[in-house]
């Protein structure tokens, strides 16, 4: 029993947010994530030098970032990767109100009400269309206008 317990303890001590112990505040909408939120997070957060790292809190998968398996490199993001992203987001700040959650306050500049973020200030104002798009999704809502503006801002060039 001890032999089983020790590796489990080691694994859980090193894990990010993928463990099953956290209780999500709400069950977030996977379709809305894929169509509206994931492009924002891929461009702004999910690179291999930021949240595209396996053991990082808020570990995110993306076509240009971390992949669930190595043979997915150069393939479009997969459904199970998007689902894993949603589970990671649900677990990052369970119990928080969407507007107060770390998903909003970490990327938001401290001067605008955010909290310190190692990766810097991604949004300088609470009126940023990317913030509003993510916030609407976290709230179980949708904000097509701001999400459309955000999509233009974060569009990545096509693969060559």
């Amino acid at each position: 029993m001890k032999r089983t317990l020790v590796p489990l303890l080691v694994a859980s001590a090193c894990g990010g947010v993928s463990g099953g112990g956290s209780q999500p505040l709400v069950e977030l909408d996977g379709d809305g994530y894929a169509s509206e939120v994931h492009p924002i997070l891929e461009a702004r957060c999910a690179t291999l030098d930021c949240h595209g790292v396996d053991d990082r809190p808020l570990r995110l998968y993306a076509e240009t970032g971390l992949r669930l398996q190595g043979d997915l490199r150069d393939q479009p993001v997969q459904a199970d990767e998007l689902t894993a992203d949603v589970r990671a987001i649900e677990a990052i700040d369970p119990g928080a109100e969407p507007a107060d959650s770390l998903m909003i306050r970490k990327p938001l500049a401290e001067a605008a009400g955010g909290v310190f973020h190692e990766g810097g200030d991604l949004w300088t104002s609470k009126d940023d269309p990317q913030l509003l798009c993510v916030l609407a999704w976290l709230s179980g809502d949708s904000d097509p206008d701001d999400c459309a503006v955000a999509a233009e801002q974060v569009a990545l060039p096509p693969p060559t």
Binding site: V6, L9, V10, A11, A13, C14, E42, A43, T47, L48, D49, C50, G52, V53, D54, T64, G65, L66, R67, L68, Q69, G70, L72, R73, D74, G119, G120, L156, P157, P158, P159, T160
Partner: protein, 172 residues
């Protein structure tokens, strides 16, 4: 004793390769490891030339190796690496004969050897384009903070956490 062992195990289980271990692995048994801007192409330059650990002496903000094609044994000389920072400032560096390039802050450098010295650090995120001989590749996404290309472009090839080498042309 059991508690101490368990605590140590938990701690060491979370620590990956140390900079010293990475350096030792790169040096191997060579009693006179190569030095200068042409050495160790394809390796993670900032492992030994980073701000916090720099037994290699020089500290680089950005550094890497460009290959003509993925899997090439030798880096590509004379490729232009264009870096555009968040303020729109553009840096251009030409790779040296090993395919290496590097950027340090504080002036100096040896532009003829792939080493550009700049007065102030570029503002992240960075956009990168590489070109040579009429071919061009632009990174689809940006560099948010990592200065060593090989950290995300492992010489060992593509994988879950690697986009493979920085290359210019697709392998036919």
């Amino acid at each position: 004793m059991m508690r101490l062992s368990l605590a140590l195990l938990l701690l060491t289980g979370c620590i990956g390769t140390t900079p010293e271990e990475e350096l030792a692995a790169a040096q191997g048994d060579d009693p006179n490891p190569p030095e200068g801007p042409f050495h160790r192409p394809g390796q993670r330059c900032l492992a030994c030339h980073g701000e916090s650990y720099n037994p290699g002496g020089e500290v680089f903000l950005l550094a890497g190796t460009v290959y003509r094609r993925a899997g090439d044994a030798v880096g590509l000389a004379g490729a232009e690496v264009e870096v555009t920072d968040d303020d729109g400032k553009v840096l251009r560096i030409t790779t040296n004969r090993a395919g290496n390039f590097m950027v340090s802050v504080g002036g100096g450098g040896r532009p003829g050897e792939g080493w550009l010295g700049v007065a102030r650090a570029p503002a992240f995120p960075l956009h990168v384009t590489v070109r040579a001989g009429g071919s061009e590749q632009t990174m689809r996404n940006v560099i948010h903070r990592e200065g060593a290309c090989a950290a995300c472009h492992d010489r060992a090839g593509k994988g879950a956490a690697s986009n493979g080498e920085v290359f210019l042309e697709k392998t036919p």
